[in-house]
């Protein structure tokens, strides 16, 4: 199920990344990492990934959102499922005031809070990849 699936993590906190990287690699995923939005987007454009794990608060602010917005505009990148992993509820409430749920950035996305339980992480990653594949199979 996880074999051959390629994931990308974009997060500017290497210590945190290590904590999810090992969970995902142990589960059999092939995982690449980018520690800033620029490298992250370059990787997205140059390779094909089955899922992106994206941090929101990077650099000078919510630079993760910039990536998500750019992805939405790209017909190919829009199809990649995104798992948004973010620091605090409050920050989300602040970015999207009044919205109990975050707005959808791309076709298949979901938001989880840091830190994230390993089993829950694996379950969501696999569910999102599945959902994106189902969408593809249906031809949208």
């Amino acid at each position: 199920m996880t074999e051959g699936k390629k994931l990308l993590i974009i997060d500017d906190d290497p210590d945190f990344v290590e904590g999810i990287l090992s969970i995902l690699e142990n589960a059999g995923y092939e995982v690449e990492t980018a520690y800033n939005p620029k490298d992250g987007f370059a990787a997205l454009e140059s390779k094909r990934y089955d899922l992106l794990l994206l941090d929101i608060m990077m650099g000078r602010g919510a630079e993760g959102i910039m990536i998500a917005r750019k992805m939405r505009k790209d017909p190919k990148l829009r199809e990649i499922p995104v798992l948004i992993i973010t620091g605090i509820r409050e920050q989300i409430a602040y970015l999207f005031p009044g919205q109990p749920v975050h707005p959808h950035f791309v076709e298949v996305d979901e938001l989880v809070e840091k830190p994230v339980e390993p089993d829950f992480l694996l379950e969501r990653v696999s569910a999102l990849i599945q959902a994106a594949e189902d969408r593809q199979a249906e031809g949208k």
Binding site: S22, K114, V116, P118, D119
Partner: protein, 384 residues
């Protein structure tokens, strides 16, 4: 800064008053400017930026009261003293109500003028110092929020993530003792993260609440209460506590934010659970009263002593009678109060030691023209 001369502006239609005042202040550490009417006086207020302004109440053109208003509109830290004709104490009182610092009845002696000038300037110094302190406190608040959030939260979050990963990876290799130690680490780190969240909530509370107001909408009190009860139910079950709610039927909606109001209630009901004995009951009640909705949370727990009562809504208050294991950050009630006040409501408490406490939140209705429906107690027993 200490060497700078104080700037004094005198606005009076009598030239002789302007001249004599200028003369009295001559040679002192002052810059003096004068105007014979309110319009030019206001121009000077903006150009000259005085520390202290004397305003004659009775002038042709813009009246003195109006000048007073405009000065405070321009810069509320400018100290204004009104000059009044004899026997017009009532207008002097009126001026002080409008924000004038003091009044000077005409005629006055040079000494009287010097003394009131000195007092006015001292006042100005205090006002400026207070403003500076307030600004400093705001900076500290913002700064502290940034430090807490970035310097503490991220690394602690990363530690937690790695603990979670380690536990997952080593799950079949750890012996029971090692597993337990890992669990305790996780739980301590989790407490720390919760504490940081709470700090951040308080520190940014004022800003958040203002932002919140922009998104207020009509919300059902009943929904908020049942969601809050649902969220604390696991704690209640653990202590074998019944939460009994009686919500008046068809309560008017209130204008607010569901999530934060729920947080306020979760804090109150959570406290009630914390300070209740095993196996007791907590009542949550909501009724319409006159022009507000009253939500009351009552417990039969340890209660609050009279000496503690005045402080419980302040920051970092922790009840002395709190069971050791249940100690919190001491911010729950402070946050609750802020949330309730942001909803134009009020919060109060009645408590007796060893008998229990009742916290009451009063929220104004959204709809005031609708009439009360007949009261119907639903008396839902939520737990058991």
């Amino acid at each position: 800064m200490g060497e700078a001369k104080s700037k004094i502006l005198i606005i009076d239609d009598e030239e002789v008053v302007l001249d004599s005042c200028t003369q009295i202040l001559e040679g002192g550490p002052y810059h003096v400017a004068t105007s014979m009417d309110g319009a030019f006086g206001m121009e000077l207020v903006q150009e000259f930026q005085p520390d202290l302004v004397f305003v004659d109440l009775k002038m042709p053109g813009i009246p003195g009261f109006e000048v007073l208003d405009r000065i405070h509109g321009f810069d509320p830290t400018i100290v204004a003293i009104v000059i009044t004709g004899y026997a017009t104490v009532s207008s002097a009182v009126e001026a002080i109500k409008k924000g004038a610092y003091d009044f000077l009845p005409k005629p006055f002696t040079p000494d009287e003028f010097r003394v009131i000038t000195r007092r006015g300037l001292e006042r100005r110094k205090l006002v400026l110092e207070t403003t500076a302190l307030k600004r400093e406190r705001e900076m500290l608040r913002e700064h502290f929020a940034a430090i807490v959030s970035h310097e503490l939260k991220s690394p602690i979050g990363a530690v937690q993530q790695n603990l979670l990963a380690l536990e997952h990876e080593l799950s079949d290799q750890l012996n029971e003792d090692q597993g337990n130690r890992l669990k305790r680490m996780k739980s301590s780190i989790n407490d720390l993260l919760e504490l940081i969240h709470t700090w951040l909530r308080v520190i940014s509370a004022d800003a958040d609440i203002n932002k919140l107001r922009e998104n207020f909408q009509s919300i059902s009190v009943e929904t908020v209460i049942s969601k809050a009860i649902e969220s604390v139910q696991p704690h209640a079950i653990r202590k074998d506590i019944d939460i009994v709610s009686s919500i008046e039927e068809s309560l008017d909606p209130v204008f607010g934010d569901e999530i934060t109001l729920m947080e306020a209630l979760v804090n109150l009901i959570g406290n009630a659970i914390k300070y209740s004995r095993m196996g007791s009951q907590i009542h949550v009640r909501a009724d319409e009263e006159e022009d507000y909705i009253l939500i009351a949370v009552s417990d039969r727990g340890v209660g609050i002593s009279d000496e503690d009562l005045p402080f419980i809504f302040g920051d970092f208050y922790v009840g002395k009678s709190a069971p050791e294991a249940e100690r919190g950050s001491g911010l729950g009630l402070a946050i609750t109060r802020r949330i309730v006040e942001a909803h134009e409501g009020s919060i109060s408490v009645e408590s007796a030691l060893d008998k229990g406490s009742t916290f009451m939140i009063r929220l104004p209705f959204l709809n005031t023209d609708r009439h009360n429906e007949p009261v119907l107690d639903t008396g839902i027993l939520v737990n058991n």
